[in-house]
């Protein structure tokens, strides 16, 4: 049986780390997905740059596809 808290997390609820300070809480409350930042901070700067490049490539591909579709 999955408890309500676990289910909420499965559904995307962010669990604030116990050591989260006011700036971290403010950023989370503002709407940033702080789990992505936690993940990034576990990585090396080079890995962060590579992930960024992948995200950027995907965005630009989608943008190009959208422009191509709109031109039809």
């Amino acid at each position: 049986m999955i408890d309500a808290a676990t289910l909420a997390q499965m559904n995307g609820e962010y669990v604030m780390p116990p050591d989260a300070g006011p700036a971290w809480r403010a950023a989370a409350e503002y709407g940033f997905d702080m789990s992505l930042v936690e993940d990034a901070l576990q990585r090396t700067p080079e890995q962060r740059l590579e992930l960024h490049q992948h995200a950027l490539d995907m965005i630009l591909e989608l943008k190009e596809a959208g422009e191509h579709h709109a031109a039809k």
Partner: protein
């Protein structure tokens, strides 16, 4: 138009351009989960350094992206002495070169507030986190202020970890 920051950075390194990575890519290197569509650097605006930038992008069809006719990058000594910024579109993406950064100052001040960062294709200097926060705060656009919120959270986390060491 692709944006290949790795290739642009490698080329800048190969040509021995004096520069500091600023802007969104700097934020990414610090751990911010943001996507940025350009590469911003601050650099020394000496004739020699600007010629190195020109050599970096000379085969990439560089154009001044903010000019009405997208003028090609063709530096002369006179132009080098007049330019304060260079906003380029190239075959590897956008490269914006700034002589001054709001909230920090000129290149010497940017350099003083930078830290070395080593990645497999070279060692680069990037703005330290405090300076990046100052620059983004001074820029003041909504997207910059969003980034400030995130960068402040990362700074807080870094400070906590330093205290634990």
């Amino acid at each position: 138009m692709p944006q290949n920051d790795k290739a642009l950075l490698s080329r800048l390194k190969e040509q021995k351009v004096e520069f500091v990575i600023i802007g969104g890519v700097c934020g990414v290197l610090h751990g911010a989960s943001l996507v940025t569509l350009d590469l911003d650097i601050s650099c020394r605006f000496s004739r020699e350094n600007l010629r190195r930038i020109e050599a970096t992008v000379k085969d990439l069809h560089p154009r001044h992206r903010l000019t009405a006719n997208k003028l090609p990058l063709e530096l002369t000594d006179e132009l080098c002495d007049s330019l304060k910024n260079i906003y380029l579109n190239t075959d590897l993406g956008i490269l914006d070169c700034l002589s001054e950064v709001s909230g920090i100052g000129d290149y010497e001040q940017v350099l003083q507030q930078s830290i070395p960062h080593s990645i497999s294709y070279g060692e680069f200097r990037i703005l330290n986190l405090d300076a990046l926060i100052a620059a983004k705060s001074a820029a003041g656009r909504e997207k910059d202020l969003d980034a400030v919120r995130l960068l402040q959270a990362i700074k807080e986390k870094n400070d906590q970890q330093k205290k634990l060491l």
